[in-house]
């Protein structure tokens, strides 16, 4: 399984780098890790473009209560859900995973990947 990852500069991206270093992302071939100023910037178009390569897109950002820009993570969650619905309706077999983690707490990242491995 080929993974691409996207994280916000504040929490997600550092968390992803740490996770990669600790071997958490070796559940599949991790292609690249991208960064964004804030998850709130995410759009369905961007997610679909990223999904051109790889089977799985992992998105990581600040936990919703502590998003530096207040609504970024909350909006991103809604957009990711919408994007996944569109993928499912269009019969495109790709998954977008969302994890809220920081560099200090990367447990969530492992957890969402675990779930995917269990039910691919």
């Amino acid at each position: 399984m080929k993974i691409r990852a996207l994280g916000c500069e504040r929490s997600g991206f550092p968390a992803l780098l740490k996770a990669k270093k600790e071997g958490m992302l070796s559940v599949g071939d991790c292609l690249e890790v991208f960064s964004l100023p804030c998850l709130g910037v995410v759009s369905e178009a961007m997610l679909f473009e990223l999904l051109k390569e790889g089977d799985l897109l992992l998105v990581v950002g600040c936990p919703p209560g502590s998003c530096y820009n207040e609504w970024g993570s909350t909006l991103a969650e809604k957009k990711i859900r919408r994007a996944q619905n569109l993928l499912d309706e269009a019969g495109v077999k790709r998954k977008i995973l969302l994890a809220f983690a920081t560099e200090e707490k990367i447990g969530e990242v492992a957890k969402v990947l675990q779930d995917v491995r269990v039910s691919p």
Binding site: S43, E44, A45, F48, K52, L87, A90, G91, R94
Partner: protein
């Protein structure tokens, strides 16, 4: 503004069927504001179609109802096998008329003329009846906002300011009553409004507006 909602993706796929090269063309006006057919949305649909195996390109024109703007997309249109228009019904028809040889499909269900009340919320306000009488009702239009277009007061189904059709729907007459009360003009609601002349509306005939003073 004109509001529309994107058609379900399955409907779009069904209509595109076996085309390969698709141009998803958005419009920079109303449908951009209601987040259904602007450049971002056109990109979204094109990227999704690409994941589905199409060769989709996306673009946007300033206003898809105006010939001069639409012609800017001429090259992209002729490159495509099929065009999926994310404009309102007016834009789709304009495209179809200007490019009669290219199959043009609507990617949007055009719904109403309305206003953005909040981010992510648009509501109907006008149905283009052709003879505006909102001033008689304190600025709330019963023709568009009452489910039955009643002009002489609420029906028996108004409850807690909601319409019998759907509880999420405001009763326009409650709004009118409250507004006229606030304005101290309740008495005017006792005037009997005569039957509406629907001939200037869509029920008359296909409408045209001509301004001879600007035509050459």
């Amino acid at each position: 503004m004109i509001v529309g909602e994107r058609k379900p993706i399955q409907e779009i796929l069904a209509v595109l069927a076996s085309s390969r090269r698709v141009l998803v063309l958005g419009c920079g006006a109303c449908v951009t504001v209601c987040l259904s057919g602007g450049e971002r949305e056109a990109h979204e649909v094109a990227a999704l179609l690409n994941l589905r195996g199409y060769e989709a390109e996306y673009g946007v024109v300033e206003r898809q109802c105006e010939k001069e703007f639409v012609m800017h997309a001429r090259e992209a249109v002729t490159r495509a096998e099929t065009v999926l228009s994310l404009a309102c019904g007016v834009g789709v028809q304009t495209l179809a008329e200007l490019f009669p040889r290219v199959p043009v499909f609507p990617g949007l269900d055009t719904t109403f003329m309305g206003a953005p009340l909040e981010v992510g919320l648009w509501e109907e306000r006008c149905i283009g009846c052709g003879e505006c009488i909102v001033h008689r009702f304190g600025g709330v239009c019963p023709v568009a906002r009452c489910a039955k277009s009643l002009l002489n007061g609420p029906c028996g189904g108004s409850k807690n300011g909601r319409c019998e059709v759907r509880p999420e729907r405001d009763c326009a007459w409650q709004l009118i009553y409250d507004r006229m009360k606030f304005l101290g003009r309740l008495e005017e609601l006792l005037d009997i409004q005569p039957p509406k002349d629907w001939s200037p509306s869509r029920y008359g005939a296909q409408r045209k507006t001509i301004r001879e003073d600007v035509r050459v």
